[in-house]
């Protein structure tokens, strides 16, 4: 494993952690969603600091180059994130459709109620007018 790769891993880890913590400070991300990125950064950091672990795992699985294993680990982690994100997006879409349906339903109910009220007012006014007419005649 080259020194360049190890340095790159450490830089990436630092950048990820710093960036997500900055986003927490700016109220742009919920803390529970930042946990994944902190763990991600910790793993990158570990891979950069302890190449022996990577060598040991490459031997174990039988991959030629340690660098490939590192890419594989990162790809797996990111795939997991994409997978959960995709599920969350589905749920959010469903929630939005339920939300708009509910808003439409409720505003419909309010408008119907107002129509009925208006109708009653009209009737009252008409009756009054008719009575007046009756009176004048």
């Amino acid at each position: 494993m080259s020194v360049t790769l190890r340095v790159l891993l450490l830089v990436a880890a630092l950048f990820t952690a710093g960036w997500i913590l900055h986003k927490i400070r700016k109220l742009k991300v919920k803390m529970e969603d930042a946990i994944f990125w902190m763990i991600f950064a910790a793993i990158l950091c570990g891979l950069g600091l302890f190449p022996q672990v990577t060598y040991w795992m490459t031997d174990l699985i039988g991959i030629m180059s340690p660098a490939n294993l590192i890419f594989l680990i990162i790809i797996f982690l990111l795939m997991e994130k994409v997978f959960t994100l995709s599920i969350i997006v589905s749920q959010l879409e469903d929630k939005i459709s339920v939300l708009s349906a509910e808003i439409a339903l409720r505003s419909h109910a309010v408008e119907e109620k107002m129509k009925i009220c208006d109708g009653e007012n009209h009737d009252i006014n008409n009756n009054e007018n008719e009575e007046e007419k009756d009176g004048t005649v």
């Binding site: 913590l21 927490i24 400070r25 803390m31 930042a34 946990i35 808003i103």
Partner: protein
């Protein structure tokens, strides 16, 4: 002074009537609002039929979403204090007065109705989790002790209403307590007795509990140091 009792309710059809009838009959001096958090059972129907005062959230937003709605309601109608009371009947409104007294006496911002202010915690898996969080708070706040960190019976003053209603990170969870203690907010506990829930189930299963503990520990030990501190 205007106090609002906020009752977050998610699928509490079996309990809500008992809880609210008790409030209406015996504690009519307080206003209340039920936050129906997108329940899938008859919670909404019961509230509507009985003519209770309730906010009906169209989709489930989780406890922190429900609390946020309640806090915004309180802010909108100009309440000075909010008391959070669970919809499952665990909390006895008899203790509300002692929470208010404690707030007036000490001038603190949050009073927690605590099962473990003077009494010891029993030893079971749930309470071990609670003790870990208590210890985490104790370690990060320079020795401040909160016994019942997960208690859902809390009294908030106006300053806290604004913050809990409008800040993304203010969840009604113990990590917020740790953060608040470190930003100079005063939190007190008052010993109360709580009932076991008589119907329905708690929302935390094993997987949920592990995730919950992880969220709390990350937040208390790491994230809180990066959050902005509001100095007033």
């Amino acid at each position: 002074m205007k106090l609002l009792i906020m009752i977050p309710a998610y699928n509490e059809a079996e309990n809500i009537e008992r809880v609210v009838e008790n409030l209406i009959k015996n504690f009519s001096q307080y206003d209340y609002v039920i936050i129906n958090d997108g329940s899938t059972d008859d919670t909404r129907k019961i509230c509507a039929r009985k003519g209770y005062n309730f906010l009906d959230l169209p989709v489930n937003t989780g406890l922190s979403g429900a609390i946020k709605s309640g806090m915004r309601y309180a802010n909108y109608y100009g309440y000075d204090f909010v008391l959070q009371l669970d919809g499952d009947g665990q909390h006895d409104p008899v203790y509300i007065q002692s929470l208010i007294d404690e707030m007036e006496r000490t001038g603190c911002d949050i009073v927690i109705g605590s099962r473990f202010k003077t009494e010891r915690k029993p030893l079971n898996s749930r309470m071990i989790g609670s003790q870990i969080i208590t210890t985490a708070i104790w370690m990060t706040t320079g020795g401040k002790y909160i016994g019942d960190v997960t208690s859902g019976m809390r009294l908030f003053n106006k300053r806290m209403i604004k913050r809990f209603g409008y800040d993304m990170h203010y969840s009604p969870e113990p990590d917020t307590l740790a953060y608040l203690l470190n930003s100079g907010v005063k939190i007190k506990e008052v010993q109360v007795k709580m009932y076991e829930r008589t119907a329905g189930v708690s929302y935390l299963d094993f997987k949920g509990s592990v995730w919950y503990m992880m969220k709390m520990l990350f937040s208390i030990f790491l994230f809180q140091w990066f959050r902005k501190r509001i100095k007033e």
